[in-house]
């Protein structure tokens, strides 16, 4: 499968099954397009047959000279011979192995507080309550969760625990106690905990900052960007905006971590489709690591992303990509999570085939110890999988999640981006289609554009 596109003046050809990315001139771009139209399953042999050159002469003879077409065809043949173009799908056969593999639990999202000191309008957790009641996780429940993780992690050395909410700083002592417990247990069991925390920053202070810097591998700092954008969606319960209180704390924390191992993470809605301005605002505030996500909401929500918003969103991603290239070249670069792509050291095929891991490798734990496939399913009783006392009591839910992959979804099979998103978010699929075995189509459109932009940035920076 070949995907080719033009972006910011670059002609890019992605050979999906090898992952090879080629930047080509107009001639070669047109030649590949014609050949791919002729036969999507071209091989070195079929490319050397007279029909291949004939169709190029027929379709492109008026635009390019015969010698040029021969040269470009030779390049295409060479790439095909070395497994970098027209590569056949060798991975579908691996999918049975991936589906049947014995998975272990390696990551937990601990809902340390189902309570929040903000009242964000778009909160999928309903201001921290998750279709339930306000609650804080006790130390005892948290301990059992860590014990469950260690006991179910097989040979995995690195274990991840995210302190999530609601707002986890509202139950800070328990976080500290659980980190201490984890550090003690990791020595006994030869494990390594990577702790992370996701916070709105309201309660952030020097003492917490010091602990976070000592113990947390990553910190996610929630902020939506420009003051007016942030304060419209992220007010306190009394309606007052949170920007002025939070931004200086986040700046201080990011600096204290040497601008590494954190993300300032925002949400954009249809009320700020010019969200590149919010990313640039983060950069202007001095942040170097950032992410901004499309809102997850019901279609009836006034701020929800609609299909008609897609052209504006696509344009905004391209605009952001161009500005990021300029800034990088000017020595003022920053990372945007969704434009980060590792073309050489990226994840292995098994990872790309197996999806996000929710329901199998990754579970969410509620304050009272219930287990769900991920934080987005918490409170939806049909997804209750067990609890920290009894472990997984409904393995059939894990089996269902394990069976979900890029080859089990028709829409993913034909998508060029399948090995970059790994099939997308199952919670989003469920929210829009009532099943995890589908895709959130608007999200897919945005994901494809982000992958295209990420690759284009690589092309631009490779030019020097």
């Amino acid at each position: 499968m070949i995907h080719q596109y033009k972006n910011n003046g670059y002609n890019i050809v992605l050979d999906v099954y090898s992952g090879s990315v080629h930047v080509v001139d107009d001639l070669c771009y047109d030649v590949i397009e014609i050949l791919n139209g002729q036969n999507e399953k071209h091989t070195k042999k079929t490319l050397c047959e007279p029909e291949a050159f004939h169709i190029l002469e027929e379709k492109l003879g008026d635009t390019y000279k015969k010698e040029e077409l021969k040269e470009a065809l030779a390049d295409v043949q060479a790439l095909t011979e070395t497994g970098q173009l027209f590569t056949e799908d060798m991975f579908e056969n691996m999918i049975e192995v991936v589906k049947e593999r014995k998975t272990v639990v390696k990551a937990l999202c601990l809902h340390i507080a189902h309570d929040c000191n903000l009242a964000c309008r778009y909160c999928f957790a309903e201001e921290g309550e998750y279709h339930g009641r306000r609650a804080l996780m006790s130390y005892e429940v948290g301990k059992k969760a860590l014990d469950f993780l260690i006991a179910n992690s097989g040979n995995r050395h690195n274990l991840e625990v995210d302190f999530f909410g609601g707002e986890p700083l509202m139950n800070w002592q328990t976080v500290k106690d659980l980190v201490a417990y984890g550090r003690e247990q990791e020595k006994i069991h030869d494990k390594h905990f990577r702790f992370t925390v996701t916070t709105n920053g309201v309660l952030l202070n020097d003492e917490i900052q010091e602990f976070v810097n000592q113990e947390m591998d990553n910190v996610v700092l929630s902020l939506d960007g420009r003051k007016e954008v942030n304060d419209r969606m992220r007010p306190f319960r009394n309606g007052k905006g949170s920007y002025d209180l939070i931004v200086p704390k986040f700046q201080k924390l990011a600096d204290s971590r040497n601008q590494e191992k954190y993300y300032v993470r925002g949400t954009f809605t249809r009320e700020n489709l010019d969200f590149a301005e919010d990313i640039l605002h983060f950069a202007d505030l001095g942040f170097k690591q950032m992410s901004i996500e499309p809102v997850v909401g019901d279609e009836s929500d006034p701020y929800a992303i609609r299909e008609e918003d897609l052209p504006a969103i696509m344009g905004e991603y391209v605009r952001l990509a161009k500005i990021m290239i300029e800034r990088k070249k000017a020595g003022k670069g920053f990372n945007f999570f969704h434009f980060m792509i590792d073309l050489n050291g990226g994840p292995c095929v098994a990872k790309r085939l197996s999806g996000c891991g929710s329901g199998t490798e990754y579970l969410a734990v509620t304050p009272w110890g219930d287990l769900y496939p991920c934080h987005q399913f918490v409170g939806q009783e049909e997804f209750l999988m067990g609890n920290v006392d009894e472990g997984i009591t409904k393995p059939e839910i894990a089996d269902d999640f394990r069976s979900c992959n890029v080859y089990s979804k028709e829409k993913c099979r034909d998508c060029f981006a399948k090995f970059y998103c790994s099939g997308g978010c199952m919670a989003n699929s469920y929210n829009f289609h009532g099943t995890i075995h589908n895709t959130y189509d608007i999200g897919c459109e945005m994901q494809r554009k982000r992958v295209e932009c990420a690759i284009m940035i690589k092309a631009a920076l490779a030019e020097g």
């Binding site: 790439l79 993470r265 292995c348 970059y420």
Partner: protein
């Protein structure tokens, strides 16, 4: 090659052999929490 510049040296097929150790980060745990992005992650064995 006169008409082509290839950006990567590795192909996906190269990763099959040492595939699936599972030590890498869980996909959505790191930053997004609302979508799934895998392609931007780094293999733990190559760190």
């Amino acid at each position: 090659m006169k008409h082509v510049k290839t950006l990567n040296t590795q192909t996906l097929n190269n990763t099959v052999k040492k595939s699936g150790c599972g030590e890498c980060q869980t996909s959505c745990q790191s930053a997004c929490k609302t979508s799934c992005t895998v392609g931007n992650q780094t293999c733990e064995q190559k760190k």
